[in-house]
Symmetry: C2
């Protein structure tokens, strides 16, 4: 166990996704969180907008459990602001809990301590793109 | 003027790019900085790797001045760790200083105070991608 708030965030994030537990997921974020996500939209402004996206995602994977593994985690911890980065592997599990297809993202999270609780105030997830072809680059 | 280290980073970043001043650019970063860039590669590990990429870029735009404007800046400032986010517009300037083509990125920067100096320890820049087509999404 660790008191590192960025490690704690990653662990809770993975647990909430595996359980498709929207309230558990949402409570990781500050009300005014800003999210730069990998897909489809430039920005999600505020927890409600972000929760709406996650609710759609959990609904879309209704019959599939998704395992998140954080690799190459780095964290930078201050007294009241902290950050973390990782490569996140999202793997769909079959009925035996075995990983099938998977996808990887780069993730950065910024956390702030507010009234004694660490909350994500900014999250940035992406995949790099080939500058010439504008195609996604694999790791 | 401001003492906000994330605002200072963005201002110095833009000034160094406009002047294609590699030493000025590089000194914004910690030796062990990790960069998730928008293009071509998953990660740059360390300032030397990142400086090599920037040197190639400055060399490639030898005859073009590039103006960086940071829009929608948000910052989260702690005593020893700080973060910032912005949409960066990179515009090529013609010989009269007028912007021609431009491109936008989302940028997150994490800074840490070391021996009294704020240095970028992590930078994440990206564009979102359409999940179905895997094409870049404009703002």
């Amino acid at each position: 166990m660790t008191d590192d708030p960025a490690q704690t965030f990653l662990r809770e994030y993975a647990a909430a996704v595996l359980e498709r537990d929207l309230p558990r997921f949402v409570e990781l974020y500050a009300e005014d969180v800003q999210v730069f996500d990998s897909w489809d939209r430039w920005e999600y402004a505020g927890r409600d907008a972000w929760a709406g996206m996650i609710a759609s995602w959990f609904d879309g994977i209704r019959d599939t459990r998704v395992r998140v593994i954080a690799k190459d985690v780095q964290t930078w911890i201050g007294a009241d602001v902290a950050g973390g980065s990782a490569t996140l592997e999202f793997a769909a599990l079959d009925e035996h809990g075995q990983p099938q297809r998977s996808i990887e993202n780069r993730q950065t999270v910024l956390l702030q301590r507010r009234q004694g609780r660490w909350l994500a105030v900014h999250q940035h997830t992406s995949v790099p793109v080939d500058f010439q072809s504008k195609q996604v680059v694999a790791r």
